[in-house]
């Protein structure tokens, strides 16, 4: 029984979350002494698909017919389930990103499979499959046993650093019958330029009420720009409309796990910490030495953000030039 990975394409390219999922699936396949097969849906150059071989896929099933040109959860989920049957897969891996969240439940129902979503570790166990995932919005972890003969796993972004090796995947055309589309796409907007979306960002600079108003966000943006980081904010900031909702990180916003999270003027309420405490390194800048966030931080700076942050930005620039 092989492992099937849904290799998501974004405008014909594979993104980091795709490579993570393929790498994760290949690691599971290796442990079980079997092959990792990827399924890619939508138009893409053969070279891009062959490249998945470097992350451990032996074969890529490519559904590129007209019905698959555009993401539709019903159509794509059926194609993934059909690919699992064709590849003889008993484990299906997807990324737990926006599209994975739309697909994973559908694929599990189609395959009559058990499902663990948002997993963050390699599965343990020989016959039974048990895997770790964050629960209670990052306040705890659970070891979840996935039941059933077939199993679907969706992998939290930024859980594994995909390692590129040697190898090229064989690409095979795949033409399953297409299930009907969900909806008509009227408009699609992607965030401008090279901004990395929050769930995938490795570096995040975040601001809270301590910044006093939206007009003061310049210092946050300049630091983010110097680092190549994505900007975020706390809930009160999004609620008062200082910053857009999609920047809200925390228990009821986006949960993130970047390598570096810099919190500026955020006190660190339990709901905020829940969404960010899986960050590898946390830096807290706050003028209140009693702010609860310092207890969850690796590095702390007690000082006025309006002095400290521009100084930090300059220091980052100096370090990059040296």
């Amino acid at each position: 029984m092989s492992v099937l990975v849904y290799a998501e394409l974004t405008e014909g390219q594979t993104k980091k979350s795709t490579l993570e999922a393929v790498y994760y699936g290949a690691q599971i396949a290796q442990k079980r002494g079997t092959d990792c097969v990827a399924v890619a849906i939508g138009p893409a150059d053969e070279g891009v698909l062959q490249g998945l071989g470097a992350y451990g896929a032996s074969k890529v099933l490519h559904a590129s017919g007209e019905a698959f040109a555009q993401f539709q959860s019903r159509t794509y989920a059926k194609a993934i389930a059909d690919a699992a049957s064709q590849a003889g897969a008993d484990i299906v891996v997807l990324s737990h990103n926006s599209s994975g969240k739309a697909l994973a439940g559908r694929v599990a129902i189609r395959l009559d499979a058990g499902l663990a979503s948002g997993v963050s570790g390699m599965p343990s166990g020989e016959g039974a499959l048990t895997v770790r995932k964050p629960v209670f919005s990052g306040k705890a972890f659970a070891e979840v046993e996935v039941l059933g003969d077939k199993k679907v796993l969706s992998l939290n972004p930024n859980s594994f650093q995909p390692q590129a090796g040697e190898g090229s995947a064989a690409v095979e055309a795949f033409n399953p019958d297409a299930a009907p589309a969900d909806a008509e796409v009227l408009k699609r907007e992607t965030l401008s330029g090279d901004v990395v979306p929050l769930p995938e960002a490795e570096l995040v600079v975040s601001g809270g009420r301590g910044l006093k108003g939206p007009e003061n966000w310049g210092i946050v943006e300049e630091l983010a720009q110097a680092l190549g980081a994505t900007t975020a904010c706390s809930r009160p900031v999004a609620d008062t409309g200082w910053r857009p909702h999609h920047e809200h990180v925390g228990q009821t916003g986006v949960a993130i796990k970047p390598n570096l999270y810099i919190a500026i003027g955020i006190s660190g309420a339990i709901q905020h910490l829940a969404g960010v405490n899986q960050s590898k390194t946390i830096v807290v800048i706050n003028k209140d030495p009693e702010a609860p966030f310092f207890k969850a931080a690796d590095y702390g700076v007690v000082g006025d953000a309006f002095d400290v942050v521009p100084r930090l930005t300059e220091a980052v620039k100096r370090q990059q030039q040296s």
Binding site: I109, A116, S137, L147, D182, H246
Partner: protein, 244 residues
């Protein structure tokens, strides 16, 4: 317009999480339970707004024991017209999806939050849509009706998409969809007499089982850096933490 809203019961967002029975059970002692914020604030309130605007009926469904009725009554107080409680332990998403699907025929729209804040699965909507063979719009932040079609804005990886979808459909809701409502006295009084039907569970197996829980490892002490020494902080991030 008939709308079904799926509501889960979860620990309040300020809950300090702890476990019992050798870390195999969530410790409910002293925990305040609430309706899952995404279900209540966004899915339910938008459903009630649509009903106020276009007429129709909002039904809330919950899978859980009788103790969940307090949470269900709050949803009725916010403006749902009636409720269904499937009398069973909600063992996992697959089990819950099959219970809800068994009660979900005849609605124009099925709404739920984008995830629950306890198990953070984010998969129930997709399961329901597949079980009922309906379109599914995940992570919706805006929903407007025009006759039998809805225009929905939803998050995609790194951006947004505006979709047109025909009823019936399933959609998961998040921030932007509506503003949380606090029930008023009249709503609370009326909620007491609104119909709450208790139905037996259908036969279904769960697809997953939690074996054990763990709390994150405590962080070591914070290293405080002098605000004048930002070069030192950058050096530590580069050489010690190795994150930049």
């Amino acid at each position: 317009m008939k709308i079904l809203v799926c509501v889960s019961k979860v620990p309040d967002t300020t809950t300090k999480i702890a476990f019992t029975d050798n870390n195999t059970k969530f410790n409910e002692a002293g925990v305040q339970f609430i309706a899952n914020p995404y279900d209540e604030w966004y899915a339910l309130v938008r459903a009630v707004e649509l009903k106020e605007q276009l007429g129709g009926e909002v039904c809330v469904i919950n899978v859980g024991p009788a103790a969940n009725e307090q949470v269900i009554r709050k949803c009725l107080a916010i403006g749902a017209d009636k409720a269904i409680r499937v009398d069973a332990e909600p063992s996992d998403a697959l089990f819950v999806a099959k219970q809800i699907a068994a009660q979900a025929s005849g609605y124009d729209m099925i709404l739920l939050g984008k995830e629950t804040i306890d198990y953070n699965g984010s998969v129930l909507g997709g399961m329901l849509a597949e079980l009922l063979d309906l379109p599914y719009v995940s992570l919706s932040s805006k929903l407007e009706m025009d006759g039998t079609s809805a225009t929905i804005t939803r998050d995609i990886e790194g951006g947004k998409e505006v979709l047109k979808v025909s009823t019936p459909f399933v959609a998961s809701a998040q921030k932007g969809m509506a503003e949380a409502r606090i029930p008023n006295m009249r709503g609370i009084m009326q909620a007491r007499s609104k119909p709450l039907e208790v139905v037996a569970a259908v036969d279904a197996q769960p697809g997953s089982k939690v074996q054990s829980y763990a709390l994150p490892e405590a962080k070591g002490d914070v290293k405080l850096i002098d605000p004048e020494q930002m070069d030192e902080l950058v050096r530590l991030l580069h050489e010690e933490a190795k994150v930049i």
